[in-house]
């Protein structure tokens, strides 16, 4: 899941990027309203963590512009002003959730997972497909009674496929999910991670659609 972090304070911005990466997100971060607007136009994000007070404007303006453009991108507001009135203003402006500073990193990650999940139309925390029970919060799964652990990148690919089982997801889309701007894309990593996933889940769990991408196989015994 790729997040855009908009926070002007360098230490907090770096902390959010590292911390949320540890929680399984791919993060890009910017410090100003102008950069946030530019990044959002580029697109490719699944969610945004937005600070309210930016040096060149308010986070609410970024939000208003985003919503005016018709985007339903899940947005979590971060701010020092966390009195009821400010929360109401933020939520009414189109934010999906609101967290006052200072916050708990695990709580922030959990809230992000929740708003992202809802944006996908799911309410349950776990994702279940073809005998695999995936827990996004713990980045683990169980299949046939076995505990499975995934690396961050393996998990990112698996999660992207689990979001829309049966739909073909292109390699470039997966790469976009895997890497922030600051990271170099290695040419064959997606293949490497898919290979590792097949080792853990069984060769038939993920299908390769030649020239198009990957998708999750239908459960054995289901109708074709």
């Amino acid at each position: 899941m790729r997040l855009l972090i908009v926070e002007d304070d360098e230490m907090l911005r770096e902390g959010l990027a590292v911390g949320l990466r540890l929680a399984g997100f791919t993060c890009d971060s910017v410090a100003t309203r102008a950069d946030a607007d530019a990044a959002l136009e580029t697109g490719g994000f699944d969610g945004m963590v937005l600070d309210l007070m930016l040096p060149d404007g308010s986070g609410l303006d970024v939000l208003a512009r985003l919503r005016a453009a018709g985007s339903i991108l899940p947005v979590l507001l971060l701010t020092a002003r966390d009195r009821s009135h400010d929360r109401v203003t933020g939520l009414d402006a189109g934010a999906d959730d609101y967290l006052g500073k200072p916050f708990d990193l695990p709580e922030l990650a959990a809230r992000l997972r929740a708003i992202l999940r809802r944006s996908e139309g799911r309410a349950a925390g776990h994702m279940i497909w073809n005998g695999l029970d995936l827990d996004p919060a713990a980045m683990e799964g169980t299949r046939d009674g076995r505990n499975l652990r995934f690396s961050r990148r393996e998990f990112t690919i698996l999660r992207a496929l689990m979001e829309r089982p049966g739909t073909i997801i292109g390699k470039s889309t997966l790469e976009e999910r895997l890497y922030g701007w600051q990271e170099d894309v290695e040419s064959n990593t997606v293949e490497v991670h898919v290979h590792n996933l097949r080792t853990k889940l069984g060769a038939a769990f993920i299908e390769t659609v030649r020239g198009a991408g990957y998708r999750l196989a239908r459960p054995a015994g289901a109708d074709a």
Partner: protein
């Protein structure tokens, strides 16, 4: 205690009323005095003329022997009439021989001589009555003719005139007082309106007075009040912003610290943990600076009367050297050197020293933080006319043109770059300098960087 001793001043209306009434009364009174004086003189002049005329008439009558001497005196009372107002027996006449025997006299004249042996006018008291007398000597017959007027009658005449003046005045004065009272009230209506507009508003209402036209005399008051209201509401707005900004400025680093601490706690590898801990330490340093700047801001913002106790005099170059010394560690940490350049015979700055130090420290701190690795911050000072200037120059990126007008605004951190600071530094410098009458000028430095110039006015300098 002192307050209790101060009497409530009387109302403006009463005050004006009393002043106008006193002035009017004084005017009336002086008119009465003047009329009294001139009437008395006029009455005297007319009656004296009559006296002398009567005396001469009697004298000429007896000279011509047309009238017997004994009768003549009675003739000198031509206007003897008996009226209720007491002006009867106005004139008395006596004719004395030069050897001192009474030859003749008018009916009501006293038996003793009205005057001594003088010619012309004289004033004498005979039998307890004051007389105005004219004497003329008839040498042909060897007699002295004296015609006299009772002064009491004369006074009654004058008093009658004055009474005729005072009586209407006594009626007019209360009427006039009422008129003055009403007029003053009417004249003070704009003031009343303003007082009502002010009295009726709640303490939190700082809106300007209603924009009705006010007379020239109270326009300064209305302008001053509106100005005060504007400044008060600005100050209140300022404070509200300050609270919001301070919350943001303090909670954001706290959030950063907490996040880094949690990363360190959950880090899967040593490198991530080490990185988080390094950032944590740097974050604490930055937060420390932020807190100090907030405290600086609060102290340079403190009320002026509290500052008087803190005024001291210290030499300019000593202050600069001390500030530079305090920042040596920060400069070393950033591999920046501070170069001081200026004369040793500087005047003293006569001001609260923490203001001077806060201004210079924040300027130097900014310069150090803007400087590139291995850079140099140049601090110099010199005299310009009667003032002294000190300049702090760096080779940093300088202030962007779009930010130039706003860099001294509180919490303004620049739309481009410069995200590290609190946005308080230059605001502290400006506020502190405003307090001591100094001026901050920021100019791009030829060859790159920024030069901050502090001009210290002659008024703040003392020879030491």
């Amino acid at each position: 205690m002192r307050r209790a001793q101060i009497k409530n001043p009387i109302s403006l209306r009463t005050r004006l009323f009393l002043i106008l009434l006193a002035a009017t009364s004084a005017l009336l009174l002086s008119a009465v005095v003047w009329i009294n004086h001139s009437t008395r003189a006029e009455v005297e002049r007319v009656l004296d003329a009559r006296l002398s005329e009567a005396a001469r008439m009697v004298s000429s009558l007896i000279s011509d022997r047309r009238v017997d001497v004994a009768q003549a005196a009675a003739l000198a009372q031509p206007e003897t009439f008996d009226t209720a107002d007491g002006y009867s027996h106005q004139l008395s006449c006596q004719i004395w021989s030069l050897d001192g025997t009474l030859v003749g006299q008018s009916g009501h004249a006293p038996a003793r001589p009205l005057a001594q042996e003088t010619d012309g006018f004289s004033q004498n008291i005979v039998d307890g009555v004051e007389w105005r007398v004219y004497s003329v000597v008839n040498h042909d017959l060897g007699v002295r003719v004296m015609v006299g007027d009772s002064m009491e009658v004369r006074n009654r005449l004058v008093n009658g005139v004055i009474a005729g003046l005072l009586l209407p005045a006594a009626v007019i004065l209360p009427l006039l007082a009422g008129l003055i009272w009403a007029s003053v009230g009417r004249g003070l209506v704009p003031l009343d309106q303003m007082a009502r507009a002010l009295g009726g508003r709640p303490a939190t209402d700082l809106s300007p007075l209603p924009a009705t036209p006010v007379p020239r005399e109270i326009r300064p008051v209305s302008i001053a009040l509106n100005d005060l209201f504007r400044r008060l509401s600005e100050a209140r707005e300022h404070e509200r912003n300050f609270t919001a900004f301070a919350a943001h400025e303090l909670k954001t680093p706290l959030a950063g610290l907490k996040t880094q601490a949690q990363i360190a706690a959950m880090a899967p590898d040593a490198a991530t943990r080490q990185d988080a801990l390094t950032r944590l330490i740097r974050g604490v340093d930055r937060t420390d600076r932020m807190v100090r700047q907030l405290l600086d801001m609060a102290s340079v913002d403190s009320v002026p009367q509290d500052l008087n106790d803190e005024v001291e005099t210290a030499a300019l170059h000593d202050i600069l050297a001390e500030v530079a010394d305090n920042l040596a560690a920060l400069a070393r940490g950033r591999n920046v050197s501070i170069v001081l350049d200026g004369p040793d015979d500087t005047p003293g700055i006569h001001a609260p020293q923490f203001l001077v130090a806060a201004a210079l420290r924040n300027l130097m701190e900014n310069a150090i933080q803007a400087s590139p690795d291995g850079g140099e911050v140049e601090v110099s000072w010199h005299q310009t006319g009667v003032d002294w200037c000190c300049t702090v120059s760096d080779r940093g990126p300088g202030i962007a043109a779009v930010d130039r007008n706003r860099v001294t605004d509180r919490f303004y951190r620049g739309a481009v770059g410069g995200l590290e600071g609190s946005g308080l530094g230059l605001s502290i410098v400006k506020t502190a300098l405003d307090r001591i009458g100094g001026v901050l000028t920021l100019t791009p430095r030829p060859g790159g960087g920024e030069t901050a110039t502090v001009t210290l006015p002659h008024a703040a300098l003392r020879t030491i």
